[in-house]
């Protein structure tokens, strides 16, 4: 595992099974976010156009289905939760990449 990786203990699944242990490579995920244009609107610590990733992580910290919901928001866009500015659909992001990005976002300190 790369030095800058961390291990994320995801919230317990709604079904009651044991908590999943998901690996997040923070450096690679940040590079992916940059490559896909996410960091034009977002930053980890501060609001830019969209909310700070740390605020997203805090808001969804206790929601077991957060990862799946946010993956759909990344892919299809969303709005109404963080002011009037909607997030556009990200058609240049694959399903797998969206999941990688969301896991990284939810791991933001």
């Amino acid at each position: 595992m790369p030095r800058n990786s961390l291990r994320l203990h995801a919230a317990a699944l709604a079904s009651g099974f044991a908590a999943a242990v998901v690996s997040v490579d923070a450096g690679a995920s940040e590079s992916l976010a940059r490559d896909r244009g996410c960091l034009s609107c977002h930053a980890v610590q501060t609001k830019v156009v969209g909310p700070a990733y740390k605020d997203v992580a805090a808001k969804y910290a206790d929601q077991p289905d957060a990862e799946d919901r946010l993956v759909q928001k990344v892919l299809k866009g969303g709005g109404g939760n963080w002011g009037f500015i909607p997030m556009p659909p990200n058609t240049n992001v694959s399903d797998e990449e969206a999941r990688t990005l969301v896991r990284w976002i939810l791991s933001s300190p």
Binding site: G37, S40, I85, P86, N90, T91, N92
Partner: protein
């Protein structure tokens, strides 16, 4: 244009059928008449029935002057008006600079396609949401997000939505333009389509600025920036437009196809830009080779640019990245050379030295260096590493007349040392009367760095990486935002200010010391400046002097290629959809009326035949608007290449 009696002559047309109609301030378009060269026609001008009908033809700035600008007190953190504004946005001038040098920099803000929100973005009852979606449309989405983030998106989008809401419910310009007078009526614009409706151009070049009879009647070349790798050409004699494919070195060179993009009201989800080479600017040398500021590889620099390299410039300032490099195309052989520079390139101009040095700006200030290529050496050896150099910009703040150890830009002055200014050039121009290089650093709106815009004078010295010293000059109190720069054969420096003026700077008028600690901020020599307000009103709620009009760049006609005299500055005044010249201290406003939305980023001038008076000379320029489809003509609208000529009177042919 017509003469005082309404007579007109359309000169120098090739044989074809033409539609002719009358357009003017206070009028609506007359019916179109079809005719051929050599025939006379009579048009009936039609007075507009009301202000709304007349205002359709006003330059965009008369409409975007209705945009509310936050008040000075709104920039105080915690004030009611500060709500939704970015914490880094601290000055009203920075806001205006952002609107003009970022938004208006790519879009003709007040044009019909901008002041009217397309139906796609009017689906949501909250027009702010529509504006948010609008700024997410197309492949400029990441770029516009960065700009909005710098302003505070809630504040900016609220004000833009309010602006178009008011227009949608009937608000009209509070001022109206004057009809052309004097020599303004003598101008002739000839235009050709080139490139494609999906692509846009940044600049065009026709000749060697230093010897503008070169390439007489030859091809005009364009630079399509992010939109495509296809360099457009125009043969103005045979009226043939074509393209040349610009290559790139590394298959991993970024592409516009990789950019995040949203739904366009004009193109849906189609990605209309597919460029890799980001061809920003171009210049012709004395052998008709065309040199481009272009991207040839990903941004990571080769090792010779970086720390630990033996390259003389890397030992002074190692550079890890550059986003755009150089290329040269030889029309004689139809071959390209790609040149890997360590410094980012943006605008390129040749010096007047034996090495035929090509000097390059970098655009934003972040690199903190100005770079050059010894083109004589490069063409002889193809040694790209050994032919290039760059230097940091160091002010002689200890006043001893030579380059010493220096403190960085964010450090306090040290009386024993010099001081660096963290700027790179945006506009750049080697001085034709001495060996200095002048440049201009952008203000806060464009640079997103908390320092004002400057003019910067570089004395390279014998070993520029180690000897170059600079002087910086801020525009005078109450003005701001220099953009673009050129120098006449008289040594006078010209720039355009986002506060709404064209400005000259004459260093020979300076009275105080030009080095030493008092020059660290560039406030010396206000006496060197002279201001020429751009035509048109100020923003509706601004009390400060100036104009809402905005010029993208300024170019000096050193050799009277146009016909208004030698050393006449010409500003691309896109807010006014015009070229603005300063002639004998007076402002000459040359409005291009069709298609609405004239918008250009550079000017070049060429003399094809000095024996034929006005017919043998003219300016060349191109559509610089990134969204040509916002202009009159919509998605069928091609970018244009324009030839602009000055007749002795409106009836000359």
């Amino acid at each position: 244009m017509t003469d005082d009696q309404g007579r007109f002559v359309v000169p120098q047309l090739p044989a074809a059928n033409y539609q002719v109609w009358a357009r003017g301030y206070g009028l609506v378009d007359s019916a179109r008449s079809t005719t051929r060269p050599g025939h006379q026609i009579r048009l009936q001008a039609i007075t507009a029935s009301d202000e709304k009908a007349a205002a359709r033809f006003y330059p965009g700035m008369y409409w975007y002057a209705l945009l509310d600008i936050p008040k000075t007190e709104d920039f105080v953190a915690g004030s009611p008006g500060n709500q939704g504004m970015a914490a880094t946005m601290k000055l009203q001038s920075a806001w205006v600079d952002t609107v003009k040098n970022m938004c208006q920099s790519c879009h003709a803000l007040g044009s019909e396609g901008m002041r009217n929100v397309p139906a796609l973005f009017r689906k949501n009852a909250d027009s702010r949401v529509g504006w948010a979606m609008r700024t997410q449309a197309g492949q400029a989405q990441p770029y516009m997000a960065v700009v909005l983030g710098s302003m505070g998106p809630e504040k900016a989008l609220t004000l833009f939505a309010d602006w178009t809401d008011r227009i949608a419910t009937g608000e009209l310009p509070f001022d109206k333009p004057s009809r052309p007078v004097g020599v303004e009526r003598n101008v002739v614009f000839t235009m050709w389509d080139w490139a494609s409706p999906k692509h846009y151009q940044h600049d065009a070049i026709s000749t060697d600025k230093r010897a503008p009879t070169l390439n007489a009647n030859g091809l005009i070349y364009g630079s399509p920036e992010e939109s495509t790798d296809l360099v457009p050409t125009l043969d103005p004699i045979r009226n043939v437009a074509a393209t040349i494919t610009h290559p790139f070195r590394d298959p991993k060179t970024p592409s516009s196809l990789d950019l995040a993009h949203g739904e366009s009201a004009y193109w849906g989800m189609e990605q209309i830009w597919d460029g890799h080479t980001s061809i920003h600017n171009l210049i012709m040398d004395e052998t008709k080779k065309v040199w481009f500021s272009a991207r040839i590889r990903p941004e990571a620099n080769p090792d010779f640019c970086k720390k630990g390299s033996s390259h003389p410039s890397a030992q002074v300032v190692p550079l890890a990245t550059s986003v755009r490099q150089l290329s040269v195309y030889d029309p004689a052989t139809k071959k390209w050379d790609l040149i890997n520079t360590c410094f980012t390139t943006h605008h390129v101009y040749f010096g007047h030295d034996a090495d035929n040095t090509l000097w390059s700006s970098s655009g934003g200030p972040q690199s903190g260096v100005v770079g050059w290529l010894n083109t004589k050496k490069y063409l002889e050896t193809h040694d790209e590493e050994g032919s290039q150099g760059w230097t940091p910009l160091i002010i002689d703040t200890n006043g001893n007349g030579k380059r010493d150890a220096y403190v960085e830009a964010n450090q306090p002055l040290d009386p024993t040392k010099d001081k660096r200014v963290m700027a790179a050039f945006y506009g750049i121009m080697p001085n034709p009367v001495d060996d200095t290089i002048w440049g201009q650093a952008m203000d806060r709106g464009f640079s997103r760095v908390d320092q004002p815009g400057y003019l910067i004078r570089v004395s390279p010295g014998s070993d520029p990486a180690n000897t170059a010293l600079v002087e910086i000059y801020q525009p005078p109190e109450g003005t701001f935002g220099p953009r673009g720069l050129d120098i006449g054969l008289d040594g006078k420096v010209w720039t355009a200010l986002s506060s709404g003026q064209v400005a000259s700077f004459d260093r020979s008028l300076c009275k105080g010391p030009l080095n030493g600690p008092t020059t660290a901020e560039g406030k010396q020599c206000p006496e060197g400046w002279k201001l020429y307000p751009l035509p048109g009103p100020q923003f509706k709620n601004l009390k400060e002097p100036g104009s809402a009009n905005h010029a993208y760049y300024v170019w000096v006609d050193r050799f009277n290629t146009f016909g208004l005299g030698a050393n006449v500055p010409i500003a691309s005044a896109n807010g006014g959809e015009a070229l603005v010249a300063i002639v004998n201290e007076k402002v000459v406003n040359l409005r291009m009326p069709y298609p609405l939305g004239f918008f250009t980023k550079n000017v070049d001038g060429r003399i094809d035949d000095p024996r034929t008076g006005w017919k043998g000379r003219g300016l060349w320029t191109t559509s610089g608007n990134r969204t040509t489809f916002h202009n009159e003509g919509g998605v069928d609208n091609y970018p244009k290449v324009y030839k602009v000529q000055m007749r002795p009177d409106p009836l000359a042919f």
